[in-house]
Structures are given as C-alpha cells and as structure tokens.
Amino acid sequence: MFWFGRLVSLCAQRAAPVLSSALRDRIAILVAFLTIIGIGAATSMMPTSTRLLMPGPLTSAHASLQSCSACHANSGFGKWTWLRGLIGGKPHGDSKACAGCHSIGEHAFNAHGARLDVLKRSTRHAEKRAATIAMAIPKSAMLQSMAFPASQMSARGIECATCHQEHQGAQFELTAMSDEQCRSCHTIKFDSFDRDHPAFDGYPFTRRTRIIYDHASHFSKHFPEVAKKSPTKNIPQTCANCHVTGADAGKSFMGVATFEQACAACHANQINGNERAIGPKGIAFLTVPGLDVQTLKSRNANIGEWPEDSEAALSPFMKVMLSRTKRGRALLTAVAGLNLQDLSRANAAQMTAVSNFVWEIKSLFNDMLSNGAGSALRGLKDANGVLSADAVADLTAHLPHDAILAAQREWLPSLALEMSRRKVTSDDADGVWEEMREAANIETRAEPSAQSRAEAEEKTDEETVPEPAGASAAEKKRAQSTSVKRDPRPCQVRLFGQCLLHNEQNHKVDAAEAGRRPTPDSAFSDGQRVPQPAKSPQAMRVGLGDVAAPQKKSAVKIADKDTSEADELLFPTADELREIEALTKGKSPLRAAPAPGVLASPATAPAGSTDAADAAARAGSDGDAESWAASGGWYRQDYAILYRPAGHKDKFMAAWLRLTARQSASDDASNAVFAALTHKDAQGACSKCHSIDTGANTGRSVNFSPAKAADAAGRFTRFSHEPHMAVMPNSGITDKGCLGCHALQKDSPYLKSFEQGNPASFASNFTPVKAEICRSCHTEGKARQDCQLCHSYHVDQIGTPEAATKTLLLGGD
C-alpha cells in the first residue's frame, strides 16, 4: 500500500493525465509480463506444481488419487506434460481412465451405457408413443432442444464427466443429475411425474414369464380341484406363499418360490414319469437301430454282425454324437431319406452308405467302451466352446461302463473283434465322405441306371470304408498294425466281465490255427448257418413313442462278406469263436455270468444297480427295469439304453437342452434331440413349465429359472417392492394387497403366447400397473418424483473390479 501510495504521489506530481495514461500502460504491460514470469516460475519450480493447477478438491471417494494422470489420460507426469492435453489424444481417454477402476460395460459411451440397437428401438418406440399422446412440450425443453441439442453430445459419445463433474469439493454429490438433464435427450418431454408423465406402457411386463404358470387357471380351476380331491394338500392362500422378496437382490426384487416349495406337491410325479400312463418313462439314449439285415446280406453289404430283431429307431442323441465328425454328418445325411428297415429299393450307393453307417455306429459303441462315454461327445461344442468336464458328466449322466458293455455283449458281441479288423480311417479324408454323401443324395433323387448300379455293386465288393486319398503304403501298414494290436487275446481268468489273466499260449495256438479254420464271416456267409430272421416284433419307437414289450432275443447274425483271404491275425480267437457259436445257438455265455450292474435277462435292470441285477438274474425273471428306475437313472430295454429323469432339475435333461437349444435351428441332429426333449409328451415334461425363447441371432434357449434380479440388468425402470408393501396397507390406496396394483386378467390368452418363440410377444395374467396408483403418493409435496427415483441412468450396474493381486510365490519376496 505504501508503495502504491508513493506511486500515486509520483504520478500526481507529474500531474498531467496524459502522462499518467502512458505510465499506466507501461505499468500494465509490466504487470502482464510479471504475471507470465510468475506462472512460469510457479509451474516450473514448485514441487507440486500440477496440484497448483487443480480447480478444486476431489470428492472423498477420489481423494486418494495423487497424480493428475490417474484420471487425465494425456497429462503425463512431467511439470509441463499436461499441455499435451491441448493436442488431444485418444477419444474418451479420460473416461476410459474411469473404467480402470469402475467396470462400466462395453457400451459405456452410449446413452445409458446401453447397446445401440436397444437405444434405437427405444427411440422408435418413444417416437410412436409421442405421436399418439397429446402432450405440450415444456417451453424450456423446447428452447433447450433448439439452442443446444443434446443429440450432438450423445452422437459423439457421452463422457463420464458429462454428469460426474469432479473437483467440486469433498462432499460434492457426483451422481446427482437433474430431471432437466434427463429430459434433454428424451423424445417425450415433460416437467414432472405427477402432472405430465405419460401412462405406463405395459409396465412391468417386458416379456412373457420364463416359467409357464397360468395364474388364472390355477386360481379358478386347479387349486379348487385339488382342494376338493385332496384337502390335506397345501393350496397357496396368499401371494406370499409363492412370491417373496428376493434374497439375491435385497428388498427390491420380488422372487418366485422354488419348485420344491411351490410346485412339487402336484407336479413332481409328472417329471419322474410316475404319472405317465403310456409310452416309455425313460428316454432312449443309445440304440441299435433296426436294419433290413436280410436285404443287406443279399446285396453282400459288409455290415458285420447286427441284431435282426431290432426295430429301434436311431436315437436323436446318437445323431448328435455321430454328427460330431464330418464322416458322421455325411453318413447321417446319406441315410436320412432311407427306411433302414426296408432297404429293398435302395440302390448300390445307398447300400454302401448304410453299411458305412452301421460301422459308424459300431465305432461309436466301440469308442464309448474303450474311451468312456464322454468320448462320444468329443468335438461337440456348447456356447462356451469345448465341452467342460462338468458338461460331459451331465450329458452322459455318469453312464456306467457296465451298462454299455452289457448292451454290447448282447447286441454286438463281436464288436471288439470286428472293429479290430476295420481299417482306421481318418476323418480328415473329408473329400471321400462328401462325395459319398452327394452320391447317395443324387441316387436318392434319381434312380440309377442298370450300368451304374452294376458298377456300384462292384464297388460294394471292395472295401466299404474308403481309405484316405493318397494314403501311403506306410500308413496302410500302420493302420494294419493298429488293427493287430486291437485283436483281443483269449482270456484265462475272467471276473465281473473283466479279463484278469490272458492265455498267451492259447492265443498263440489260436493264431496258428486261425489260418486253417473257416472264419466266422465265411461261415455265416454260406447262407446255411445264418438263422432265419425271427418274426418282427412290435414296433419300438424309442424316444417319443411307445416301446413294445420286450421281445425274445434271437441270435445275432453276422452278415459280413467272405474274408477267407484276409490276414490270419484278423480271425477270431478260440474264445471269441466259442462266444459267437454260443450266441448263434441262443446260449450266450454272458447270460450265465452277467456283468455286475447289468441284468442277465433281455429285459435288463438299471445299470449300476448290482443288487437288483443279481436279484433279477437269480430269479430268472424279466424284471421291470423301467419301474426299478423309478427314482431316475439308466436302464436297458430291448435294443436301447434309456435314461429316466431323476426329478426336477435333472442335470442330464438340462445339459442336453442347453447343448442343443442354440444349434437346433441350424443343426438337424441337435434339433432332433431338442424336439424330443421339448415335445409336449416328452419325458421329464421340461417344456411344460420352462418356456423356450427363440432369439434372432442366438437360437433357441430354455428358461430354466424364473426371473432373477440379474435379469433386470439393462432395464431402464426400477422398482422396489418392499418399501411399498410396508406403506400400502396404511396408504388408503387399496385394500386388495398385491392385486391393488396387479389385477388378475382371467381371460388373458396367457398360454397361447408360449406357442411361439418370441418372448416379447405375450399376454400377461395380470393388468399392467397404472401410473395413477403411483401418483397417489409420488406427487409434489409428498413422495419423491424425480426421474432417478424410478429410472437409473446406467442400465447396467457400475461395479468395481477386484484388485488384481498376484499370489505370493513360495520362496519369493
């Protein structure tokens, strides 16, 4: 002040105003210059110079951030590096820095963090609504739209800082957002909820229920009937018997009681099949499909041994398992149009396809026996990629080895021997299979000429399994050696179906004698020892249809072609010959010593139930395997291994539905399984309650669970039931409880909407909630009515990722 006074005095002594003006300008320039020097010095010399530039304290949540570059992506760490921010760097750089600590989803910079297609759909919907409702747009909103259209902001991506403005003090509320800000983007603009909010658009229903439950029919029909028939059964008295505030989402979400709590009393027996009057209670998983063995034999098709009596259809599960390879897919396509049980009109190419198909099935059985049931699923993929161990376990429901082994011994006793003789072909030789499939399809469409048929028949005399194109001699030799290795040795001591000690000596003798003996193939091919086909049993429709009562098993015929010129190592061993002979006489040695877990009788018991199997075997009766498996599990019947659902949440059923649902639209085999499991009469009756959605891009999906709190993610509207339930009784709004807001619509075509796949096309059991009910409390001077009370900006919750803490290595620092 003193110096300023002196300066004024000095100027005053100079007196003339003109002179003062010039002096003033010089001083002004000096002050400006000093300011520049001061800024430069402060920024360069002060140790915390960048903090000097900070416009205000951070909120308490961010107070621990020390470096500007933690949030400002371009600022760097130097004293002047923050100037790089002027140049501009990565778009949304700072907002992406927010994502370092907050998980904000992949569409973070779209409005509401929602997907673009969702936003477009919402906008279209809102525009349609705006056209139908007469509403005066508030002047301020109109003015704002004209002066500063918010669309410009959303078009370039909404930054986090648009709404969350930092450096405004420790107590600043970062998430505060005004109604006007919300309104700036929206098509329908209004001032307040109580006056102008448009009527709710079908709230809260956005889709049909995941679990098919017709409230109207239960209230009006089923519950009264049950109450009449079984007064002791607990009929739900209040909504709260089935609906409770969800434990997974605190007080806001209204959940649904579990099946066991709400449905099991009446519906459990529908799942395990106890209430099933007709048809099998289990689902055929593995079958030996019935073939026209006679025709195949007469046409010299090489199919090896195959049960003549089977009239089973190929199970859809097997179709999926066979289609896991290109070869399998080609074969399935090739035989798709054929009646396998009547091949009299099949041409040569089709016969070839059928014989290859037979070997493919045998290969599948052999693979499952050798490498486990899960090997049949190798190569299949679900939504997450390669099947996990858990998924395989669920898909096979821990199918026991003994079950397949017993079935194989009865159905295809020489499987191991036959497979050992087959040349191993690679699935990679795709061209061959593609050609074969095309040829079969062409032949199916057009009757072959006599010459081509003759040529084709000549081909059937050759090896039916094509060798890989260009296979070298060494490869062929290796394939043969592989076959030799797989030739089973004679067994000296056998226990529970497993060979404990091999008879090496006999094996050698057998091998030496093999050259002098007629092969079983040649023996069967002479036409004299082949038993005549038995009378056809009743039709067996595994899967969906009725399964005929177990028929008398006939001998297995081997309809292979003459292989007398084959290598002697390919001949069956003495033991195997004995087994084959015994089988042809109807005296399978397997019957005398049944494997554990497998019934000795043709009508078998569930696999894994040793006691039951033994009991049935001892009794020598045809025990009812299906009834025995009443609590679920595997059992064998005729030429099929079936699975009976174990009750609600059966993992086998769920796993197959999951696996096949997505691909069912594009893959025939998957579709077959899916159709079999979701048919209205399907075992387990899963689709009776679990709705099936069809997505445009995602295929079909089964809704295994009712709506969860997590399903509300992505929704723009939120509602918390619990506080309302506490207030409603005293509010005078309604005395009807839940029905005050959710009125039952008795005539709603609720069930009809489940006849199609689009979940968005539906009719609810209940009337939508009306805005007027909300307005009775949420109005000016009473309860809150701001936008954010019911609408979250971020439709997906903002989370904080866990810290990526490395584990301490032993011996490390």
């Binding site: 301020s140 704002q144 002066a147 902001m153 800000q181």
Partner: protein, 298 residues
Amino acid sequence: MFVISRLPKRRTSLLSAGAAVMAGRTLTLLAGVCLCAAIFVLIKLYGRALRDARYLDGWILAGGMVGQLALHAAIKTGFSRKLLARIRRLHIFTGYVLIAAFASHTAFSLPDTKLEWLLWSGFAIVTASGILGTYLARLQRNAAREGLPATVDGIAKRRDALMEQAEVFAARALQANAVLGLPKPPQDAWIAGLYANHLASYFGKPGNAVRRAFRSKRQMQRIMEEIADLTVYADTAANVKLAEIRALVIENDRLNWAALRAKLTIGWMLVHVPITYGLVVLGVFHIIVVYSFSSGAW
C-alpha cells in the same frame, strides 16, 4: 450494443432533461438486468443439455474481457468526444454484465485453490476498481460542471491561491468606528488568531484523506463554528470579512475533495488497467489449463 444515456430529443420534449436522463438510466439498467437474466438462462439451458455449463459462462466471460480490452483500446485511440463517451458507457455496461457471467462461472461461491483465488481476486479487483472508476468519472463530470480544476496540479495551484487570499484577508486591518469614538474592539486580533489557530493549517494541509473520501465535513464545520462564534461579537465590517473567509473555507473544502478525487483517479488508472492486463494473462493460462485437463464434456 447500444447503451441508453438519455431518451431521444423528440421524446424528451415533454420531459425535463433530468427526467430524460433518469429514464435513459432506467432503461439501461433494465437492459442490463435482461441481458444478465438471458445469460443465466442460456447457461442453465446449456448445463441441462448434457454439457458443462462452466464452459459457456467461461467463454462469455473471456469474450467479454476481450471486448473490454477492445473498448479500452478504442478509448485510447482518440475518437470524437461524443463517441468516446458512448464507448465508455458501453465499457461500463459490459463490465456490469460480466459480473453476472463471473458469478455464474464461479457458481456464486468462493474459490478453493490458489490459482482460482488469484483469478477470483484479479477479477474482483478489476471489477471493484471499474465500479470506482465509474463513480470517479461522474465526480469528474460534476467537478468540471462546478468549475473545479481537473488535475492535481491545477487543484494545488488553486489551493495555494486560496491560502494566500485567506492570509491577506486575515492580515488586513479593519477601519476604526469614527461615529462613537469608542474603544476599538480587538476584532483584527480575533481574526488573526482564527487564522493562526485554525485557518493556516486548514488551508495548508488537505486533511485526513479517508475522511475526505467519505466527504466528511467535520474539519470545515469546526472552522465554521469558530467563525460563527466570532460573528456574534463582530461588527458589520468584521462580519463581511468573516463572510469572505467563510467562502474561502468552503472553496478549500471543495478543492480538498477535488484533490482526493484526482489522486484517486490516478490511483484507479494504476490499478484497473494493469491488473486487467495481468488478469488477461491469467485468464489465457486458465483456459489452457482447463482444456488441457478437459474430459470432453464441454
């Protein structure tokens, strides 16, 4: 922008000149209030449109400051007197409007950090000095109307002349009363004493500057009371002399005030413009910092 100083002549024919000036000022005030309100509304709308309102009011402020600098340059350029007066009025009007933009930019709150304090204080000083300058300009106009000198130098000369005049009055002896031949009352001694005890220091020093700034008449009143005390006992001739001295005292008081105004004007010139220059530099730096650390929500 046009600042209304008075209503057009044809409209003022029915009004007195003072009423016309008052009406012009009222309209200017109304225009200023409307403009400020418009700025506030615009900023509010901007903030509602998913933008950071601080960018809009910041740019209004920056633009206004650049405009003020341009007006300052125009004043220095030396236009006609009438035009200069208009430019000055526009400068003052813009300054008042910018206060609204500044208030909005700071969200009607005090700053939190050092740099912000610097900017805030700079603007506050420039604004305060600007308002003072407006007041001083009006005083200067009144002084000119009253015939007072405008410069410190002129005032000092005038004050010296007054002092000499007062000294002469005080020293001049009164004529004797010839009619009655009574003893001569010591009126000259009284007046000489008045000068020696009160008037010499009053005319010699301008007095307390702060009191003068607040137009305090205390010092003058004390002298006036002294003179009034003498007047009771003085004869006609002495009273005439005292009346002349009273006029000089009043004139000196006006000169004292004029001197203070002149010095304040010089001081104002040394504050308002140089700090504005510094503020402009700081403002540019502030804009650079803001855009360097901007998160794109402008």
